[in-house]
Symmetry: C2
């Protein structure tokens, strides 16, 4: 617990403040402005605390899910937010984000750099029950925002129901009950005319 | 795990989106705008994950600290953010926030309403090691922002060093090493002329 160690930790903590200026395509539920990735990260982490009983794997490590969600978007500080329906941006997303992870996590003391990088890799790979559940929440949250704002982000980008269904289908990998809810939400959105068929 | 239960959980999750529009006096480290309470909550929760080794009580429950920090400001949705150097606002802060807690947490299923209310009460009372450490981080974070922005919030509100020292002194209750850092930061701010003596 040297001053050098604390200095590195605080350097990282100051750096990640930049995530608050990284805008997503999702708008707030009152449609007043676009959401940023820091407040989104808070929102999905609270969701993990409250919704973990819906994870299909019963003995899930909720704190691990929470830690993944706290750090899952930090790479956007360098790589930017790639809209989930942006096929062009998706092509080099992985390369841009890996480079960002290499720089940003390395600000931390070596052991913590490794720990946080491990959480980010785990989230991206979606192989563990915790990562699958975290990814499910990360997808569900913008659906809730779209439902609250008459499909603001969907309409702005001309996204259609089949793409929303296929893009979000892996909510099912983390939680069948949340997927049942999400599917209903999407069908309702079509019925309400806020999502094109 | 009935639909009614999930409905209540999602009702709460949608409601707390409003915390993203609740502005604090602190500005972002690039001084571009005021910080909101949702992104602040994310920031201090990441700090808990990274800085828990500095807690004076060794066997601290870090997930408990994190959960307290995730929900500690939700009452501001109704009660507003009371600036920490606002003596007038401080008078009825507790009453306003208790009323807010009564309404907002009650949106959740009863067991979770009780759990989250318990976390908020624990944070406010600062009696457990976890609550003391959480409160220390909640104080340290705006100090870092002030140091990055030439004391923007301090100067705007004419706050002087003695009040900053006395207000933040309970960082020491959670972590002597973080308090040593904070004290130095405050003294440096005076030396740099960004905080009035």
């Amino acid at each position: 617990m040297t001053t050098e160690r604390l200095g590195k930790q605080l350097r990282f903590i100051t750096e990640i403040d930049k995530l608050k200026t990284q805008l997503r395509q999702t708008v707030l539920t009152d449609a007043s402005r676009r959401e940023n990735s820091a407040e989104h990260s808070w929102h999905v982490t609270v969701m993990a605390v409250l919704l973990h009983e819906h994870a299909d794997c019963g003995d899930i490590d909720v704190f691990r899910v929470a830690r993944m969600l706290l750090v899952h978007d930090i790479v956007e500080i360098d790589a930017g937010d790639t809209f989930c329906y942006d096929e062009e941006g998706a092509k080099d997303k992985r390369a841009r984000e890996t480079q960002a992870a290499d720089r940003i996590f390395a600000l931390l003391p070596a052991d913590q750099a490794e720990e946080i990088r491990g959480l980010w890799d785990e989230f991206e790979e979606r192989r563990t029950p915790e990562a699958r559940f975290a990814a499910a929440l990360d997808r569900l949250q913008p659906l809730l925002h779209n439902a609250c704002t008459d499909g603001e982000a969907w309409r702005k980008h001309g996204v259609r129901a089949d793409r929303v269904l296929s893009h979000n289908e892996h909510i099912r990998e983390g939680s069948r009950s949340l997927w049942a809810y999400a599917e209903q939400l999407i069908h309702d959105a079509v019925a309400r005319g806020i999502l094109a068929e």
